[in-house]
């Protein structure tokens, strides 16, 4: 008998089947939908992570640019005094209260990481070539920088990701470090020392140290490549120059010290345009210059710097106070000397003037210099020109009266052509003379004849000649002891222009302190029998000067106790004697004795010694005399003293905190080549300079960059014995001050991670310029290539897209690395408009 299942059971089975089918269909649909959504969201997330990582890199670059902008642009009308170095901008400020300069660094990086939980190595090994790294090339050199975490709302944290906040999780992080390209060798400009270009041309920087075989083959290959194959367009593009495996290896080894572009602002401590040491507006390229059409304005411009007291390195101090204490108006003398030097360097010789330049003369009217020939006041000025100097005076009178009752007087003017005044010789018969003796002798300007010259008329450099003549005076008008002397170029103008005159003050009868005391020797013979030689033999006293450039004050002239030195070196000449070592120090040799090697004036433009007809180095200002007419008429000047471009003497007073070298900050050379955009990328900036501040922050403990300074110091000429480029480069980088018997170096920033405040501060380093006046020769070949700040920076950055888990942990979803080279530009003045622009952007994650 068949048994039927109960109908209730059938219904349950169908329902079960149908339910299963529906559940299966729903499951499949859900799985498919989920799969599609998951794939789509994965794509979207992948793209978004890439974008997010790139945005993190942008954040890093923006952070670096923000710091650069904040620290190097005008703030409230004042641009801070800043210097730069790899990893930092440093602001220099003076504290007038303490007289101390302080340095405040601002990081151009995201912070030094002490472990890789808090940061990342920017110099990671390359995946394609693990033996090389992304930045320096050497994977062993680590660049550990901290992460900066970014939350969804844009807030940042440098102390780790922090806790998970559902409404505001961490979404990314970035890290960066900024290099200063001005601390590198510019392979588009550096070459090797040569005579084809001026010393300040960046092509003079030698690439010899690049070569492991210490030769110039690689330097020549680089020059040849950029000449024929085009300039290098990126730092690594320099590799095109290598001609063999060794050169390729040398370039790779120097990778971290090479760049293809750099330039530095040409502004002063005070962020003002430098004064160009030229008299030619076209060469100045829009910057202030030595404008001979506006001498009062130029004097005022220079005086402004010489009198200001807000030097960051020496607050409250000025050059006026240093050299002209108590005589503020006399500072104009220093400005005039600078103007004269530049003018002489660009002035050729003519058939008429023999290369002698006529000094600028004038007086101060209030605070304004007035150009004129007036010499009647204590504040008369005469610039230090290129030409002969009056250095000794004597007068002889006949022992008997002439038949007409007059007495014959013979006057002797000694003329000296200083050895380094820039002229090989002069012909005295091309000059005229003028002597006013108590207004009792004919003051007319009179041509010098061969008969007036003793022993002859040709005066070679470094020697002395006499101009002598006789004059009969009535017995009752005998001169009693004061004279005024003048030497002029004959026939140059209708009124011969004075090229030397002593003293500057006019002869006020009855005021003997403003004219030269004249000792008179009474001879034993009559006028008709006494020749010049016989008269000289009888002269018992003369009046003379020590420093030939220092004869403008009557008090510079000293009556000899006995005898004379006519036609020879003066008896009171102090060269070779111990120098004054308290500041301001006299020029001294390495034994501490007075030297005249600093008394240099440029040769006529276009002649041997000055073929270029231009100032070749701002260090030539070391020849500027600082002792001329330092005070009122009654006080003598200081002989044998020029701007000291050396460390101060140990005996220098400690209150003398404004070094002479700081004045170099005010001046710049004309550009080596105005039309070369590599050297002159734009007005107010110079290419190819080397930043002294090469300390690599914050990795200085493990990273150094010495190659550029070694290159600068290589293949110099006229070097002191034992000059070692690598040793001195090390002294500069390590800030080892000079410690010589005549030179005690001191650096103005004494903080542990100190900076150079000015290129000329390099003078304070051991071995640089501490062997006396002659060691300034080295500086002339170096100083114009140095700077303390740059305008091209490279930001190395890494950004990561993150997902933060509820437990606070993070997951890296994407990464981007980039190298971005920036250029800082200044446009206009007071204040300059500063802009930044990218000149190279390169992905590094490959």
């Amino acid at each position: 008998m068949m048994t039927h299942l109960p109908p209730r059971v059938h219904a349950r089975g169908s329902a079960l089947l149908i339910s299963l089918v529906l559940v299966a269909i729903a499951t499949v649909v859900l799985v498919a939908t989920f799969t599609r959504v998951r794939v789509s969201s994965g794509i979207m997330r992948s793209v978004a992570d890439g974008v997010s990582a790139a945005l993190m890199v942008n954040e890093a670059e923006n952070a670096a640019i923000a710091t650069l902008r904040a620290q190097t642009t005008d703030v409230g009308g004042t641009t801070p005094v800043w210097v730069s170095r790899p990893g930092e901008i440093v602001i220099l400020e003076a504290d007038p209260g303490t007289g101390v300069m302080t340095a405040s660094p601002s990081a151009l990086h995201s912070g030094l990481a002490t472990n890789y939980d808090e940061g990342i190595n920017l110099n990671a090994a390359r995946l394609s070539t693990p033996g090389l790294s992304l930045i320096s090339g050497d994977p062993a050199q680590e660049f550990p920088v901290r992460w900066i975490y970014v939350r969804q709302d844009g807030s940042r944290s440098i102390s780790g990701p922090g806790p998970y906040i559902a409404s505001n999780p961490v979404i990314g992080r970035f890290a960066y470090w900024t290099d200063d390209e001005s601390t590198k060798l510019n392979t588009n400009l550096a070459s090797f020392r040569n005579t084809n270009t001026v010393p300040s041309d960046p092509r003079q920087i030698s690439l010899r140290p690049l070569s492991s075989s210490d030769d110039l083959l690689l330097a020549q290959a680089i020059e040849q490549t950029r000449a024929t194959g085009g300039i290098f367009q990126t730092p690594l593009d320099t590799r095109r120059a290598s001609q063999n495996a060794q050169q390729a290896a040398d370039l790779e080894a120097a990778r971290f010290s090479l760049t293809h572009t750099n330039h530095s602002p040409e502004s002063t401590f005070f962020n003002e345009p430098k004064i160009v040491l030229t008299t030619k507006a076209a060469v100045a390229n829009g910057r202030p210059y030595i404008n001979l059409d506006d001498i009062p304005g130029t004097v005022a411009l220079i005086n402004r710097y010489l009198t200001r007291t807000d030097w960051p390195i020496a607050p409250g101090k000025s050059y006026q106070g240093k050299f002209y204490a108590g005589n503020p108006d006399r500072i104009t003398q220093l400005s005039l000397n600078i103007i004269e030097y530049v003018r002489a360097s660009e002035t050729p010789a003519t058939a008429l003037d023999m290369g002698i330049t006529v000094p600028i003369r004038g007086t101060m009217s209030g605070s304004t210099f007035v150009v004129n020939g007036t010499t009647g006041s204590a504040n008369s000025f005469r610039g230090m020109n290129r030409g002969p100097r009056l250095t000794e005076l004597a007068m002889w009178r006949a022992g008997t009266l002439n038949p007409d009752g007059t007495r014959t007087f013979r006057i002797f003017l000694e003329v000296h052509l200083p050895a380094n005044i820039g002229l090989a010789s002069i012909d005295l018969t091309r000059l005229s003379r003028y002597t006013d003796v108590n207004s009792s002798m004919n003051p007319a300007r009179t041509p010098v004849t061969a008969a007036n010259c003793f022993p002859d008329a040709i005066l070679p450099a470094g020697e002395y000649r006499l101009i002598t003549w006789t004059q009969n005076l009535p017995a009752n008008t005998w001169p009693t002891g004061e004279a005024r002397l003048r030497l002029a170029i004959f026939n140059q103008q209708a009124q011969p222009a004075a090229i030397d005159l002593a003293p500057l003050e006019s002869l006020p009868v009855g005021s003997p302190t403003t004219s030269i005391p004249i000792p008179i020797t009474t001879g034993t013979t009559g006028a008709t029998t006494a020749t010049a030689a016989q008269a000289i033999a009888e002269i018992t006293r003369s009046v003379e000067v020590d420093d030939p450039l220092l004869n403008g004050r009557s008090t510079d002239w000293v009556v000899s106790a006995s005898g004379h030195t006519l036609a020879g070196a003066n008896s009171i000449r102090t060269v070779g004697q111990p120098a004054v070592t308290s500041s301001p120090e006299q020029d001294m040799d390495k034994q501490g004795n007075i030297t005249d090697v600093g008394m240099v004036h440029p040769a006529p433009a276009g002649t041997v010694g000055n073929l270029a007809g231009a100032v070749q180095s701002i260090a030539e200002l070391g020849h500027i005399h600082t002792g001329i007419q330092v005070a009122a008429a009654s006080q003598p000047g200081t002989p044998w003293r020029t701007l000291r471009l050396q460390p101060r003497h140990p005996n220098a007073v400690t209150s003398d905190t404004l070094p002479d070298w700081a004045i170099l900050d005010v001046f710049a050379l004309p550009s080596a080549n105005l039309s070369d955009p590599l050297i002159n990328p734009f007005p107010g900036s110079s290419g190819g300079k080397i930043n002294l501040n090469s300390r690599i922050q914050p990795f200085a403990a493990t990273l150094t960059r010495s190659l550029p300074l070694e290159a600068l110091l290589t293949d110099l000429t006229n070097l002191p014995t034992g000059f070692d480029p690598n040793l001195i480069a090390g002294n500069i980088i390590d800030r080892v001050p000079s410690n010589e018997s005549i030179a005690q170096g001191r650096f103005f920033d004494t903080s542990p991670e100190a900076v150079f405040s000015h290129p000329a501060e390099v003078i304070e380093a051991a071995g640089m310029a501490d062997r006396g006046e002659s060691s300034e020769q080295v500086l002339k070949q170096v100083i114009d290539h140095l700077r303390v700040k740059g305008s091209v920076f490279t930001i190395y950055s890494v950004g990561q897209a993150l997902v933060q888990e509820p437990d606070g942990g993070i997951v890296v979803r994407g990464e981007d690395r980039r190298m971005t080279m920036l250029e800082r530009r200044e446009t206009g003045t007071a204040p300059a408009v500063v802009t930044f622009r990218t000149i190279l952007s390169k992905p590094l994650n490959r």
Partner: protein, 257 residues
Amino acid sequence: MLELLVAMAILGILGLLLSGLIDGMFRGAGVASSNADRTERAGMIASRMARDLKSMIAPLTGNMTNGPQFLLSPGGLSAVSRPQSVIFQAPLARDDSVTDIATVAYFARWLPGVLPRSVLCRLEVPLVDPSFLAGSWADMAFVDAFAPAVSTANPPFLGLLEENVLALWIRAVAADGSLTYSYDSRLQGRLPTAVDFAFVVVDAQAAANLSTLPPFNAVNPVNMEEEVQAFVNALPETTRRGARVFRASVSMAVRQP
């Protein structure tokens, strides 16, 4: 018994339906995944192209006739300007032992043959001799030497970046903001300030059905988006369904004064 048979029949039918459904679902998922892969690759290609373009460099001295340059659809590359091509220099050389500067080009190329197809090519050549850049250096001989994209090349398929890319539109934004399909930085005196590009990619099945392409419509760069869409609309229905358009806009990192 009959009921059981009916139930089994129904169950069988349902099973068949279910298996078909599941199969269809997995097929769909496979297609979706394939499309997703293609989309992801195309997205990555667009990102790479954008990154490359962003890295282009200008001559250091600003003398645009001497050094790196940017050429959009130069005459010498008309054969691979479909409808545009671009060639420029950037510090992207994979092998930087001699220089890190490479000449980089992007273009779509039609490869005829038994199975004709269109591909996107990326050329990358280290710029070891910048004097090479003088004159009309960007020509087909150069492209054929370094991005032939064929199996007989050495290495094979040299320069082939992505299959089944039918066309590549590129327009440059000049300094004055104007848009152009043709740009020569040597004549303009500067790099463009930005570059926009779009390319059309289809799936393999859609590409297999395609033996010819509709004409490119590249007349007015202001209407580039519309012109791209018009091209897509002109594709056969079976191809059009598998076509995707990818676009990107790139601001140049290098700024010229």
